[in-house]
């Protein structure tokens, strides 16, 4: 028993919940075979803790306490429901049988199968039967232990919207009779890629927030990283999981350097590298090495991580291995061709082999419908033209880019460059 002031108990319960909730829900879902019901039961146990711990103190093993309490709730509930139908009777027996098998050592039950249970929960939350929004909400709720309010705050939607999304998602899972299990070998790769996509989506949602005025969005990056790291230990032989973790670690390492004092974005080559987080870089490089050792160097996430690693390894922008980056983009373009990857490849080509090489690729993209309205295309093209001293064309591109961006600072900057082109100079300020 840990003694503490009653006022601290609630905060401690929050902490315990964050550590234990996913394992708790997963363990319960294995028994009741219903993710939604499992979460309700876990919530009931949380309520019981909130009622009892301020009086009794926090138990020595809070996870086991919560599990024990939730299991008793489960049995009560299922017994009460027994008369409702045979299926529930069966469920009730299943619970009892499972309990007999597992009892009395809840802790051992938690430890033994928890990896598989947790993984089953991950796959259920990211099941393809759910919409992407629902997958994200359910993952954050069931695996991240986030409250509805926190999720709503992070995604700038209302709390009832999130609550409804979660209720509907749980119902969908139940109605579709999604089994609570780890997918078999053949299916695993596809299902895993859905999980990785959800995690990276959460990460990007936090990462793309430009201003630091919203505390929840940086927290999303941390949450996605935590989920990625957990997943990496659950399926340690899957290289793309490590690729994704590597990518997120390295992108997160630049969070502190990428926003200026007035909230303006600072682009990669202009960032103060001393402010990159070297703990995260080291972790990112280690995760990338793990992916590569597992033969996953050419997975889409691993390739992106390898590109990020080229930047992370360079002590100054001038040291950047641009030829290496070009090669990685070549591979990425083969694997997952997209106009945006192509535009990236063009920028890298220009950095490695001069503006003409980049422009050649950029020019193939100007009629690309998916890049229509994308300000970075004319912006990149304008820059390459200016470097080639084709100022008239460059000015035209900068003006177009300025008209396409919604960011005021960016627009000012682009118009400045357009004006400089009128004076026959590649940049508005001296380089």
């Amino acid at each position: 028993m840990v003694t503490m002031a009653a006022s601290d108990v609630h905060r401690t319960i929050d902490a315990v919940w964050r550590i234990e909730s996913a394992r708790l829900i997963a363990g319960l879902a294995r028994i009741v075979r219903d993710v939604g019901l499992a979460e309700d039961l876990a919530q009931d146990a949380l309520v019981a803790a909130l009622e009892q711990w301020p009086e009794s103190g926090v138990p020595r093993n809070p996870g086991a306490w919560l599990m024990g309490t939730a299991k008793h709730h489960a049995i009560d509930l299922l017994r009460r429901r027994e008369r409702l139908g045979r299926k529930l009777v069966e469920l009730g027996h299943e619970v009892e049988a499972a309990e007999e098998a597992a009892a009395p050592d809840f802790e051992a039950a938690l430890d033994d199968d928890i990896g598989d249970d947790l993984l089953s929960l991950v796959f259920a939350a990211c099941h393809p039967v759910l919409s992407t929004d629902a997958r994200v909400a359910l993952t954050l709720r069931l695996l991240g232990g986030l409250t509805t309010q926190e999720i709503a705050c992070a995604f700038l939607v209302s709390e009832p919207t999130v609550a409804q999304r979660i209720v509907r998602a749980k119902r969908t899972l139940a109605e579709a009779r999604v089994p609570f299990e780890v997918p078999r070998r053949a299916e695993l790769a596809v299902r895993l890629s859905s999980v990785l996509e959800v995690i990276y989506l959460v990460f990007n949602e936090g990462y793309s927030a430009t201003a630091g005025n919203d505390w929840m969005r940086p927290a999303l990056c941390e949450e996605a990283l935590r989920l990625g790291r957990i997943l990496a230990e659950l399926v340690p032989t899957e290289p793309e999981v490590h690729g994704l973790v590597a990518l997120m670690e390295m992108q997160a390492s630049r969070v502190g350097a990428r926003i200026g004092s007035s909230g303006e974005p600072i682009l990669l080559l202009d960032q103060d590298r001393a402010r990159w987080d070297h703990v995260l870089i080291r972790r990112g490089l280690a995760a990338l090495e793990r992916a590569e050792k597992l033969g996953g160097a050419f997975g889409p996430y691993a390739l992106q991580a390898a590109i990020a690693a080229c930047h992370a390894r360079a002590r100054t922008p001038e040291e950047t291995d641009w030829a290496g980056i070009v090669a990685l983009y070549d591979a990425l373009a083969q694997l997952a061709p997209s106009p945006v990857v192509e535009l990236n490849r063009a920028v890298a080509l220009a950095m490695a082999f001069g503006p003409a090489a980049g422009l050649e690729v950029v020019d193939t993209l100007t009629s690309e419908p998916s890049l229509k309205g994308y300000y970075l295309l004319p912006s990149v093209r304008g820059d390459l033209l200016a470097q080639l001293r084709r100022f008239d064309e460059a000015r035209h591109e900068f003006v177009r880019a300025a008209s396409l961006t919604r960011n005021q600072r960016e627009r000012t900057l682009l118009l400045g460059r357009a004006a400089a082109c009128s004076h026959g100079s590649p940049a508005p300020h001296e380089r």
Binding site: T12, A15, G260, P265, D270, V279, S338, L376
Partner: protein, 142 residues
């Protein structure tokens, strides 16, 4: 937020006594738990202070004092760096360390964002030639 869990030295750790096999195994299990929970960023044990030194500052002068140092309880014997959501979560993790005696001190790590810009100025303003960061982010859908 990040916390350091600092392990205080003990007469044993200062004498260079290695932990028992049981303790090493228990610590391995604990570290694994931290890693599986996705909270562990780094962690290491430190040699006893006889293998260390102190550099003290007074104006332009630097004085080097070789270890060992006597005030055992004030010395650090190891650390974990963890990423958690609250101090209470850090306390919860620290409480789970399989020690039978000794002490762990929990300290929050400063983030860049906690410094006002006049103390820690941001990097040079942007040159938009370098658009990679943003483009890369948009390329993020493999």
């Amino acid at each position: 937020m990040r916390f350091m869990m600092l392990v205080k030295a003990s007469p044993d750790s200062e004498a260079g006594v290695l932990p028992s096999r049981e303790m090493v195994a228990a610590m391995g299990k604990y570290n694994e738990e931290l890693i599986k929970a996705g909270v562990m960023l780094a962690g290491e044990g430190l040699h006893d202070s006889s293998k260390g030194a102190r550099v003290s500052f007074s104006g332009q002068n630097r004085t080097v004092t070789d270890g060992p140092f006597t005030e055992t309880k004030e010395l650090i014997a190891g650390y974990w760096l963890i990423q958690v959501k609250s101090k209470e979560e850090a306390i919860e993790w620290a409480s789970r360390v399989p020690f039978e005696d000794g002490e762990i001190e929990i300290r929050q790590v400063f983030e860049d964002s906690e410094f006002p810009p006049e103390i820690l100025p941001p990097g040079e303003a942007e040159r938009e030639r370098a658009m990679l960061e943003e483009v890369q982010r948009k390329a993020a859908k493999p």
